[in-house]
């Protein structure tokens, strides 16, 4: 398998009065084409900072002070601002953490989705856009008529689906989903994750799923990286992480889960995940 995204020794600092906060401190991660990688860790461990660094959207005074981010061998950190802008969405798409408020409240869904296409030179006729948006929305299980609505007319799950539909609109190689379901209730969480899973499969994108719900992680990811204080502690196959965590912190993380989860739902979850992996492998 060839790697599509390679993060090498990434270093992101936020200067403060008491010296720089090393939000991401020498992180290396490899993402293979079409792979689903889970990135977990306590809040403040640097997960979102990695995501924003890959998008090159770290806000000053934060700064990427070292490392490389290779997308298909090209270091994103060396691109011009304009080239980086064109890379966003087209090559690397992000579904952001605050997805409930990701949509501009005063603009219709249609024009927000078209904005993304136009920003990358996709010029279609009126009916061409209509058709394209219809396809995208259908792919995430929404009615094409949603384009005529304003964000406040959608439920949380629907908004998140709109974000996913937009993320796949230019068939990116990598999708980064930063806690895409953290604001949703459990049933909707599952549905949205299944949607993400399905479209990921369809367009063959690799996905980094950031989150802290082990259950969802185990179902979705093939590989899981565990973060703490800007470092990656462990990076293993999903079975490995659950069955036999190497790092003491990972073990602690597993043990902190409610016991009924560990004993019952988790075994079930792992089995389901194993079946899914096997099924996908068989299909390829």
């Amino acid at each position: 398998m060839n790697s599509v995204l390679e993060i090498i020794d990434l270093e992101v600092h936020f200067p403060t009065r008491r010296g720089p906060v090393r939000a991401v401190d020498g992180v290396s991660l490899t993402l293979h084409a079409g792979e689903r990688l889970g990135l977990i860790g306590e809040s403040g461990s640097g997960k979102s900072t990695i995501a924003l660094a890959v998008m090159r959207m770290i806000k000053p005074p934060g700064k990427i002070v070292g490392g490389q981010i290779l997308l298909d061998g090209v270091d994103l950190l060396t691109l011009s601002d304009e080239a980086m802008r064109r890379t966003r969405l087209a090559e690397v798409a992000m579904v952001t953490q605050g997805a409930m408020n990701s949509l501009n409240p005063v603009i219709k869904i249609r024009s927000q989705m078209i904005d993304g296409l136009k920003a990358h030179g996709v010029e279609l006729s009126k009916s061409g856009y209509e058709e394209k948006l219809g396809e995208l929305l259908t792919a995430v299980g929404l009615e094409p008529g949603v384009v005529d609505l304003y964000p406040h007319e959608l439920s949380g799950g629907m908004k998140q689906r709109v974000c996913i539909a937009t993320a796949i609109s230019l068939k990116p190689k990598v999708i980064i989903a930063d806690e895409p379901t953290s604001a949703l209730d459990v049933v909707v969480q599952r549905q949205v994750m299944q949607t993400l899973r399905r479209v990921q499969d369809e367009i063959g994108a690799a996905v980094i799923l950031i989150g802290h719900d082990m259950g969802l992680m185990a179902q979705f990811a093939q590989r899981v990286a565990v973060m703490r204080r800007g470092h990656i502690l462990e990076d293993s196959e999903v079975h490995q992480i659950f069955a036999n965590p190497k790092d003491p912190y990972t073990r602690e993380l597993m043990e902190s889960l409610p016991s009924f989860d560990r004993d019952t739902r988790f075994m079930q979850v792992i089995e389901e995940a194993a079946e899914e992996v096997a099924a996908v492998a068989a299909a390829q």
């Binding site: 998008m55 959207m57 802008r85 064109r86 890379t87 966003r88 969405l89 087209a90 798409a93 992000m94 952001t96 953490q97 605050g98 997805a99 409930m100 408020n101 990701s102 949509l103 501009n104 409240p105 005063v106 603009i107 219709k108 904005d115 993304g116 920003a119 990358h120 609505l149 304003y150 406040h152 007319e153 974000c163 937009t166």
Partner: protein, 337 residues
Amino acid sequence: MGAFWKYLGNRILIFIITVFLAVTVVFLVPRWLPGDPLQSVYSKMAGVGGGAVSDELIAEYRRRFGLDKSTFDQYISFWRELLRGNLGYSIASFPTRVSTILRQAVPWTIGLLTFTTLVSWLLGSLLGAMVGWSDGKSKKLNALVPIALVLYTTPYYILAILLVFLLAYRWAIFPLSGAYTLGADKEWSWSFAMDVLEHAALPALSIILVSLGWWFLSMRSLIISEKGQDYILWAEARGLPKRRIFWSYAFRNALLPQTTGLALSFGHIVGGALITEVIFAYPGLGYVIYNSIQQLDFPVIQGTVLLLIVSVSVANLLIDMLYPIIDPRIRIGDGGN
């Protein structure tokens, strides 16, 4: 559809109640005050005539102003005359009608304040948005912040006095006061227009400078808070050009509260820029209010206050009707599902 009409009906009802209460209060207040509102007239006549004013004359005056009837009858006829557009007579410059005084003052105020409000709003909003968006990255733009703070905190009459002193007195570039050269022919001519503009320049400048500071600071902080919104982050993540994010996302959204502010200040326009008009002896409504209060000219005070309340209410009603159009979140009716 039904919900929209219900909403509209509601707003119109509130408007009517406001105006009704305003008229009632405006009617009652001078009558609650101790003393005879015509007292100043009697003393003036006494001064001129050199003796006591005859009871017949006083009775005639009271009859003319309707003060001989019961309060309730007066209230009814106040309304009746109001609906006919008759606001009664000025006491101080009897027998000039209040409506004549207002009609002469309104165009000056509206002209001066519509222009200055629009210019300062546009300029302040644009500059504020640019500075908020660049957020300290441009040193030159950032220098505008302390300037705006100083302008905003400067009392506008001090700025007006300063401008008069420097630009009309020290260097006589602009006329000292008035809205036109006294004795000039009031006609649609090039020279009269220039004369009016010259006279309006200083009052306009003093109003623009001061309100510019406010619009600037308000827009700047609106844009800064827009920048922290999730939808701005997501717009950037979709690779939208900076320019597009600024205009269609940050600026457009910040414009909503800023526009409410504009509409509200339009409502206040007829109040005139009171002290500015007094300092420049500019014959607008502010000047009329000032004079009428000084002379305890109740009918004129009543007329201007009514005009003020009605126009603020109309502005509010218009905002309520326009807001659903510019902000879909407040759109009422069958929008959803």
